[in-house]
């Protein structure tokens, strides 16, 4: 534990630094592959729950009732053998009847309760019109689009458009991955899952926004110096919030994991399970994307601006000069330590890192910093 805390400290000071931004090609290719696989999965189609297709589901709890028995009864009621009968983890029997069977739900419930001698109000039934799932998903999609537009505008105003764009890409990335996992693994998509997908929106952005906030702080006044490029400053910001990102993700995942465990383990399939499963995948993807996709992408976008190109040139020039100086110093056998410090990347960042903070802090109180 204390070692972990120590890592937090060393990350903060820049003593250890994971080069997230610099390895963007790696992240891009990883994400690219995942997204591609997810897209292939999507193309194969999602396993839509009965909520989206229309039909009815009945759950009967009766000890000793076997699947074949229930199937017989169901067939008798529908006069064909289209009903899908399964037993759940809890020993209940679940009967799915498609809307095409034309048997009224109440009639089905009544007959079922008669045939199996189970009270009618103890039969859990769900009947869904064929257009209902369509409506839910349509509304959800509408919400998604409205939310994305609003949040992009907000981020563009509060931060800048490049951050908004990067955050949006990360968001779409998360959604694609989550839905892709559903498609590939063949989990059933229910309205509960849709809720889970939608929550990922908020959460994924939430995480990204916190990281961007630090990056923004770290890169304030960056053009006024020539020690670090934007990418390096962004990477430092990322490393500084790394502990927070990990902690946040852990803290967010813990309750969701509890939901997943309880929902899946004790209840069998259900709304709880559907929501938490989508959330679990989405949260994990969100934590990854805010670090490995959003920020590198932001840095890349930023580096394309003339000021940042200029800065990168100056930083390179300065480093070259420093290196030369260091060479000379090494030749003289003096001050090698110092030169290395200035040119060595991690330490260089550390030296610089106090500057913006010092400024922010300097407000209202005398400070030696300028």
């Amino acid at each position: 534990m204390s070692r972990f805390g120590n890592i937090g400290h060393r990350l903060y000071q820049g003593e250890i630094s994971f080069d997230f931004v610099g390895r963007r090609k790696l992240w891009y290719s990883i994400s690219g592959v995942i997204v591609l696989v997810a897209a292939i999965g999507l193309a194969m189609g999602l396993h839509l729950g009965i909520e989206f297709k229309g039909g009815s589901v009945y759950t009967v709890h009766k000890p000793g009732l076997s699947v074949s028995q229930a199937q017989d009864v169901a067939n008798k009621i529908t006069h064909d053998s289209t009903a899908v009968v399964q037993s759940t983890d809890k020993g209940d029997v679940r009967i799915q009847v498609s809307s095409a069977s034309g048997v009224d739900a109440s009639t089905f419930t009544e007959q079922l309760s008669k045939e199996l001698s189970v009270p009618a109000n103890e039969v859990d039934a769900q009947v869904i019109g064929p257009s209902w799932g369509h409506e839910i998903s349509q509304k959800a999609l509408l919400g998604l689009v409205i939310f994305m537009v609003l949040v992009t505008i907000y981020l563009a105003v509060a931060f800048e458009w490049r951050m908004a764009a990067a955050a949006l890409v990360a968001l779409i990335h998360d959604l694609l991955i989550t839905i892709g996992v559903y498609a590939l693994v063949g989990f059933e998509v229910t309205p509960g899952t849709v809720i889970g997908f939608l929550t990922i929106l908020g959460y994924s952005l939430y995480d990204t926004v916190v990281v961007f906030d630090t990056v923004k702080e770290n890169t304030k006044g960056i053009t006024k110096q020539n020690k670090r490029t934007y990418s390096e400053a962004a990477n430092l910001g990322l490393n500084q919030t790394l502990v927070r990102s990990i902690n946040t993700t852990v803290v967010a995942l813990l309750p969701v994991a509890a939901l997943l465990f309880i929902g899946g383990g004790l209840l069998g399939a259900g709304t709880l399970n559907d929501i938490s499963l989508a959330l679990f995948i989405g949260l994990a993807a969100g934590a990854y994307s805010s670090i490995c996709v959003a920020t590198p992408l932001l840095a890349q976008l930023k580096e394309m601006t003339p000021e940042m190109k200029d800065l990168a040139k100056r930083v390179a020039a300065r480093r070259a000069a420093d290196a030369k100086a260091a060479e000379q110093a090494a030749g003289q056998g003096e001050h090698g330590d110092h030169g290395e410090d200035e040119s060595g990347q991690p330490a260089g960042m550390v030296g610089q890192r106090n500057q913006p903070v010092g400024r922010a802090r300097g407000k209202g109180r005398p400070s030696g910093k300028h």
Binding site: D124, G143, T199, D213, V250, I262, G270, L272, S367
Partner: protein
């Protein structure tokens, strides 16, 4: 932090703390005081049936608020008519109606009926009689026709309406006896079936007729020749409308006579005495679709009180004219036509004359509510809406209970895990986050309970999920702030200033991220339907509470704690031990990577 001299450097944390504690205690006290100690549970947690009806129409503009409201009104009435208590009917989104029927009622019938288009028929009354009326001793109430109980007195006003002049309608001949309008009933009265053909006021109800004792109803209806009718009369004798099980839709074929019960208990001649009436009705004369419009209005000109104005479609007008022309010539009660909703007689006014203009007025001693209720029933047929059952979910009380238990258990486990994690990682500060989570949880619980009573918020499964997910969001705000404080401490700042300096930066981060989260919840709430909405509501609520808690609770509490020796000295268990955090104390900052003061020297 610029600090005027009068103010302590770190503000008055006590005030904010006091504020939120008072608010929390106040809300919790209000919760207990008003007796709403638990949030209202949704169908999926309490058990019952939830039906989502989606309106469709050929004319998209027909799906508007007013027609949806009328539909809600009538569906409520239909569900209540089934004897289901506490059913809840409400609109959701633009075109959905949710019907929640708690466990216990006759759910199967309700499910069957609610989604069906309401069957609204106008049928001539052949005869009717009270049934199963233990309270009234027939002999006890001989008063009938003469007594002119208040209601009959009222009915005549209807006949007044007949005068075309007053009403826009040329011929509002309808009469009063809305369900309420009293019918004289006792068996003693069977005396005079031919009575008053709608003419005299007091007489009307009295005529009503057939014996109260189901003894010899057969005697009453005149056209007893038809064997079908004779068979019906047999059944009529046996029908006991006071038995809820027998009050169902007994109509078979619209072209044949049928039996029916009254929709609710109707007044008798005896004041305060109510009874279930049973009817033999003729073939359907008109149906709901023939009504073009119906509305309740207050008749000021004739002081007739509340009445219901009806207009018919072209086809409807013709049939109505024909029927009323025929009915008007009949003796009581055969001059009445029954308005039959789902097989139950909602109202049975008598007809005074043939009504030809396509407009009619039903009057009687309606209260405003009754008039509106009847108008709603009548307009339903005219509503150009079809309702389809989009989602019918029946949850047994056992499953509901299990889901609730599982949700609570998951919440508890999640909370404990978060608590353990923050204690291990943040030590002393972890206690702050636990306290914050507790405040947040009690606020959420109290507000949910109170909202259940005020705006009918019902806690359903997705809402529980939203609350559990919110644990993460709330805890994250603490983490953001704690990490900022620790950053400051790492930079070598003493704790008290570190707490103050960390705040503006943490605050901005928290506000920005909470805003994004709230935006998500708000958009979802406004756009979505069904379960998604419950989830969005909880998420939005808890996000708002998160801001409240971090501003009014966490920040002031940490400010206060920073003044204590335990934290400010950086005790090993405080979670802010500079050594653990790896900060280099300013005194030993001569090393090159030192803190701020050393920098100028370097330059």
């Amino acid at each position: 932090m610029a600090t005027p001299k009068s103010r302590p450097r770190d503000g008055y944390p006590g005030r904010a703390l006091a504020l939120i504690l008072v608010a929390t205690v106040g809300l919790v006290a209000l919760m207990f005081g008003t007796g709403h100690k638990t949030p209202r549970l949704g169908i999926d947690l309490a058990g019952g049936t939830s039906i989502t009806l989606t309106a469709t129409s050929k004319d998209p503009s027909a799906i508007n608020k007013s027609s949806m409201d009328i539909a809600v009104g009538i569906i409520q009435q239909r569900v209540n008519g089934l004897g289901v208590s506490e059913a809840e009917v409400q609109t959701q989104g633009n075109n959905n109606i949710i019907v929640n029927i708690p466990d216990g009622g006759d759910q199967q019938t309700a499910i069957k009926q609610v989604g069906d288009t309401a069957k609204l028929y106008f049928r001539p009354v052949l005869t009717f009689a009270p049934s199963g009326q233990p309270a009234v001793d027939p002999s006890a109430s001989p008063s009938a026709p003469a007594t002119g109980s208040p209601s009959p007195g009222a009915s005549p006003s209807s006949s007044a309406t007949g005068s075309a002049a007053t009403q826009a309608s040329p011929s509002a001949g309808a009469s009063a006896s809305a369900s309420k309008a009293g019918r004289a009933v006792s068996g003693a009265l069977q005396a005079d079936p031919t009575a008053s053909a709608g003419a005299s006021t007091a007489a009307t109800p009295g005529a009503a007729a057939s014996p109260g004792t189901p003894a010899d109803p057969a005697a009453t209806p005149a056209p007893a020749t038809d064997p079908a009718i004779a068979a019906l009369q047999q059944q009529f004798a046996a029908l006991d409308c006071s038995d809820p099980a027998q009050r169902k839709d007994l109509q078979t074929d619209p072209t044949k006579p049928a039996l029916a019960c009254s929709f609710q208990q109707e007044d008798t001649a005896v004041k305060g005495q109510k009874v279930w009436n049973k009817f033999i009705l003729g073939p359907v004369a008109l149906n709901g679709g023939d009504v073009a419009k119906a509305q309740a209005g207050f008749d000021t000109q004739q002081a007739a009180g509340w009445q219901v104005q009806l207009s018919f479609t072209d086809a409807g007008s013709k049939s109505f004219a024909a029927v009323t022309g025929q009915l008007a010539t009949q003796p009581q009660p055969a001059n009445e036509f029954a308005i039959v909703l789902d097989g139950k007689v909602v109202s049975h006014p008598y007809v005074q004359q043939s009504i030809t203009g396509g407009n009619a007025v039903i009057s009687g001693n309606f209260g405003q509510e009754e008039a509106k209720g009847l108008a709603n029933v009548l307009s339903f047929g005219a509503l150009p809406l079809d309702f389809t059952k989009s989602d019918v979910t029946t949850v047994s009380p056992q499953l509901g209970g299990e889901q609730l238990k599982a949700g609570l258990l998951a919440g508890l486990i999640g909370m404990i895990l978060v608590v353990i994690y923050s204690l291990v990682y943040y030590r002393g500060l972890g206690l702050v986050s636990i306290a914050g989570l507790l405040v947040s949880a009690s606020l959420t619980y109290a507000i949910m309970s109170l909202l259940g009573a005020t705006i009918g918020f019902a806690l359903n499964l997705p809402a529980v999920c939203g609350a559990i997910v919110a644990i993460g969001i709330t805890a994250d705000s603490f983490i953001v702030y704690f990490e900022r404080i620790r950053d400051e401490v790492r930079d070598g700042a003493p704790l008290r200033p570190a707490v103050q300096r960390a705040w503006p930066r943490a605050r901005r981060t928290i506000l920005v991220s909470d805003f994004v989260s709230f935006l998500c919840a708000a958009v979802l709430y406004l756009v979505s339907v069904g379960k998604v909405q419950g989830f969005a509501f909880t998420l939005g609520l808890t996000t708002l509470l998160d801001v409240v808690v971090i501003f009014l609770f966490t920040k002031p509490l940490i400010t206060l704690l920073a003044r204590t020796k335990f934290f400010s000295s950086g005790h090993k268990w405080s979670g802010l031990d500079p050594k653990r955090l790896g900060a280099r104390p300013p005194i030993r900052s001569s090393r090159r990577r030192g803190s701020a003061p050393s920098a100028p020297k370097e330059a």
